[in-house]
Each structure stands twice: as C-alpha cells, then as structure tokens.
Symmetry: C2
Subunit: 189 residues, 2 copies
DNA sequence: GTTGCTTTTTGTCAAATGGCAAATGATTTC
DNA sequence: GAAATCATTTGCCATTTGACAAAAAGCAAC
C-alpha cells in the first residue's frame, strides 16, 4: 500500500485526507498465474496497481496469432484504458503471468475519486501520459531492428522478466518465433 | 486558420475571446520541402499546426540507419514534445517532406496561453493524449507483422501519402529496405 | 526414481528479406 | 532536347527468419 502512495505522489501532491479517501476505495485482489484481470469481448470494470507479480496485455491479430502488446511489472498501474474509459468491449486480454497481488478500484469508486479529489484528475492524467509515452518508446523502435537487437532491447527494458516468464510470451512481444528467440539466446551467450 | 480553430474545439470549449487570444499568438510559417521544423542536437522552440503539407519525424539508430518514426499530415499538431517540454536537446529531426504551411507558437507565447486561458491546459492534455494513443496504435502493431502486411497497414493509415513522398521514407518507417518495399508494391498490384 | 506434462532447444528445409550494384524511369536544370 | 540528378525497379546471392518436427531439459506429482 505504501508503494502505491509513493507512486501516486510522484505525479502530484495530495494531503493526508485525500490519500485516505483513495486508500479507502482500494481493495486487494489476488490473481493466480494465468487468470485474467480483464478480457477481450468484455468491458473493463476496474483499474489496478500491481503490488506483486507480472501482468501482460495480449490480443489476437487477424491471422489468429497471439500477440503480447506489453508487460506490466510491479509498481505500475494496469487498466485496459480504451475499454474502461469508453465502456466499450475490449479486444485485449489482461492476464497475470505470475501469481499477482493488486490494488483495485471499481469503475464507480474511480469516478467518485475523480469527482471528489480535485488534484486527482491531473495526477491520473500524468500517470496515463507517462504510460503512453513508455509504450511508444519501448515497442515502436523494435519495428526497425533485427531480431537480435529486439531481444537485447527487451532485456534492457525488462531485465528481471527473462527468467520469470515463458519464452513464448517474449517471442510474441518481439514479433519473432520462439524457435528464433531460442537460437538468438544461444548466439549471444 | 479556421481549420485550426475547429481542430482545437474538438477537444474542449473556448469562448470567442479565448480563441482570439490564441489566434493572436499564432504566426504562419512556410517550410519548403526538406527544411527542418526542429533538429536533433537542438532544443525544440515551437509548437506547430500543419495547415498544408506533410512532415516526418526521424532519427538515426545506433547502426546509423535513418528511421522515420511517424508522419504528420494536415490538420495535426507537430512538436518535438520531449524536447519542447523539458527544454532538452532532441535526438530527432522534424522535417517537411513536402512544401508546408504551418501555424506556429513560440515557447514563450505557448506558456503564456497556458497561464492565461484556464481550459487551454486541459485541451492541450487531450490533444497530446490523442496523439500518443495514435502513435501506439499505428506503429507498435507493425512489430509483429510481415513486410507486406506492414505496407498494407501503412496504406490504410496514410492513404494519401503513397504518391506524395519518397519510397525510402516509407521503407524506413516500416523497417524494411526500399528494394523490398518496391517488390512488395509490385506483388500486390 | 519414474511418469506425465510443459517449455526450451535444435535440425532441416523453405520462404522472406537484406545488401549491393546495375538498369530503368522520372524530374530538374540549363 | 540533352545532361545531370535523384528515385525506383530489378537481378543476384547471402543471410535471416519461419514452419514443422523431434529431441532434450525442467518441473511437479506420485
């Protein structure tokens, strides 16, 4: 919980009363490995903060291949933004890839906080903006790099994930097959 | 100018007085083909809105290859955000790839508008947020697609650009060589 | 330890893509 | 219109990557 407070205070100031209001709305959610936080075809109903574990967001492209869009590690927010904001069906799965512990807020509570705590909206704006920038920074540059460079870039961004999650997820994030990734691993040892 | 007003009013409401304040700060900038709007190694000093023409943002990766990050077409904002906001040297070139006509705001005027017009900050937030989402949506999915699919996706996003800009820019956006792109073109005719 | 299950590695072959250079085509300049 | 310049296409060959399948390794349950 303390981690969450520190996290949000990076983005703006809140007094103790405001912090308490936020904390009162948060509930702890334990997600076992492979469980979904939100699913394609449904409307995302909650916003989360990863206390422990790793999450991934993935979808199926029009060839039916499973694509991992990004990973979310500890001390980051997790939400299917398009779906949650606009209350439309998502086309992505948000899935725990290790056992996870999250703080979650329901849509109703989240809205209430936005209405009640004046500086909260600005803070949320900044959090979202930072997340979007990270997404642009992290995945787009992969487009123009070869498979080996992509993997090296992945290692830099997510240094702790390699031994934590299946090779196939990494491959589907990098846009290469897991066989290729396996060969690349071998070659750079 | 009218296009610009319509553009910003999509993102929030402003009264006539506020609109006039904004317009008074805007100056028209004509950029000939190949000229730079902002450059790597320098601090971006202005925010622009593309009235006519096409802009691209590019950089050189660590293999010295020129990479086109994205294109900006008419009726969109153009700014090297990281550099402009934080007043740090950019590593990207923002370049006119056709003759362009822009509305521009200096850093000083831009700040003044943010301080003067209360709803302006929220509008700018939304504009930036939308731009970031577009970037994520448009380029990241290319990572996991083959060259032909990438080109088809490019055609959908920028249907008017194909005959307007050099093949090499498109190739450097898609992460393929211009020879390959030329062959792909041939194959899908 | 053995068994069953999943993940990772490896081999083989085919297809896609890149690098290079030459040929062709288009555009500008004089 | 000829020359010069730049953009695009094409051919050739090398390399990378994918698809598929089999082998090996890791792991948990018994």
């Amino acid at each position: 919980m303390k981690d969450f407070i520190n996290y949000i205070l990076q983005f703006g100031d809140l007094n103790q009363q405001q912090i308490d209001l936020i904390i009162n709305k948060a509930t702890v959610l334990e997600l076992p490995k492979d469980a979904y936080f939100s699913e394609a075809g449904k409307i995302a109903q909650q916003v989360g903060f990863v206390l422990e574990g790793v999450i991934r967001v993935c979808y199926y492209n029009n060839k039916g291949e499973e694509i991992t869009k990004y990973f979310i590690v500890e001390n980051n927010m997790v939400v299917d933004l398009e779906s949650f904001e606009n209350e439309i069906c998502s086309n992505a799965y948000v899935q725990a890839i290790t056992d996870c512990k999250l703080l979650v807020f329901s849509r109703k509570d989240w809205k209430e906080l936005l209405d009640t705590i004046i500086p909260w909206e600005a803070i949320v704006h900044k959090i979202i903006s930072k997340a979007l920038r990270q997404k642009v920074e992290r995945r787009s540059p992969l487009v123009t790099e070869d498979a080996t460079t992509r993997y090296v870039m992945f290692l830099k961004i997510y240094p702790n994930l390699v031994n934590l999650i299946p090779l196939s997820y990494i491959a589907s994030y990098l846009g290469i097959t897991q066989s290729s990734l396996s060969r690349i691993r071998k070659s750079i040892r």
